[in-house]
Symmetry: C2
DNA sequence: AGCTCTAGTCTCGAATTGAGACTGCGTCCA
DNA sequence: TGGACGCAGTCTCAATTCGAGACTAGAGCT
C-alpha cells in the first residue's frame, strides 16, 4: 500500500482512470486545466488578484519581473478559462480592472493548500538542493 | 471581505507577507518551489510515481508525449529538490529506478486537492473557453 | 561479427519568452 | 496652441527553452 490517506488514493484512482480512458493522452482535460495553473505566472496572478481586484498597471507593479507581453497573455488565458473577469472603463486614459470570478475564487482552496505546503517544505527543499549540488560538483 | 474561509485568508496573509518581506521578488523561495510544481511535466511525473516506482523507460511509456530530454531533465530537477529518489542497479543493460521520497509523497495531499478541483471544474472551464472563443471571433 | 537492450547525452531546428520601443487619445500645464 | 504625460496594450527582435531524433557504452544472444 502507498501509505497515503484514503482520500488521496481515491484521487489517484480517478487520475489513473482519467488517463486510461483518454486515448489521446495529450487531450486529457485535467491536463489542460493543470497546465494553465502550472504556468509560471498564472498562480502568482491568481494569488495577487485574490487579495483584491487590480488594474493592468497595478498588476505590473505587483509582479515586477513579468513582461507586459506575458502579463497580457496570461490575463487573456485566465479570462478565457473563466478564472478572471475583465472590466473596461471607457475613460481616458483607459482603465481596465481585472478580478477573480467565482470559478477563480474556487481555485483558492486547493491553491492555498499548495502554497501552504510550499511554505512548510521550503526548508527541506533548500537543504535537498544544497546536498544535491554538493554531491554533484 | 473576500468570502473565503479563514484558512484561505491565513494562507493569503502568509503569501502576502512572504512577498513583502522578500526584497528580491524573484528569489522568493515559495516561488522556487511553486515553479517546479508548476512545471508542465513535474506534476504528471509525481502523480505517476505515486502509483508505484518506475524505471526510466517505464516513465517514458507512461507519459508518451514527453521527450527523453525533458524526462531526464525533469527527473534531475525533482531529484535535486528531494522529491524523487534515483536508484541505479549496475547491471547491463543498466536499470534505474525512480521513486517518490517522503517529501515527494507529502506533496500528494495538496496536489490531489488540485487534481480533484481540476476534475470538478473542467466542465465549467470548457464552457468558459467556448463562450470566450465565440465572443472573440 | 553483428544485433539488442537500457539510460541517458548531443545536436539542431522550432516554439516560447523577455526587453523594450511604439500607438492612440484625452488631459494637464504653459 | 502645443508639448508632455498616463494607461493599456501591441509589435519587433533577440535570447532562452523545448522537441525530435541520432548517437553512445557495454554485456548477452545467435
Amino acid at each position: 500500500m502507498t501509505g497515503l490517506s484514503g482520500e488521496v488514493d481515491a484521487v489517484l484512482d480517478g487520475f489513473q482512470r482519467a488517463i486510461r480512458v483518454e486515448p489521446n493522452f495529450d487531450a486529457c482535460p485535467v491536463r489542460g486545466v493543470l497546465d494553465r495553473i502550472g504556468d509560471k505566472w498564472s498562480t502568482l496572478m491568481v494569488l495577487t488578484l485574490a487579495l483584491r481586484p487590480h488594474r493592468f498597471g497595478e498588476l505590473k507593479r505587483a509582479i515586477p519581473d513579468i513582461s507586459q507581453r506575458m502579463l497580457t497573455q496570461t490575463l487573456r488565458d485566465l479570462q478565457r478559462d473563466g478564472y478572471v473577469a475583465r472590466r473596461v472603463f471607457p475613460t481616458t486614459p483607459p482603465a481596465v480592472e481585472y478580478s477573480l470570478t467565482d470559478l477563480g475564487r474556487s481555485l483558492m482552496t486547493p491553491l492555498s493548500g499548495l502554497v501552504d505546503w510550499a511554505v512548510r517544505t521550503r526548508g527541506a527543499v533548500e537543504a535537498a538542493r544544497v546536498a544535491f549540488d554538493r554531491e554533484n560538483v
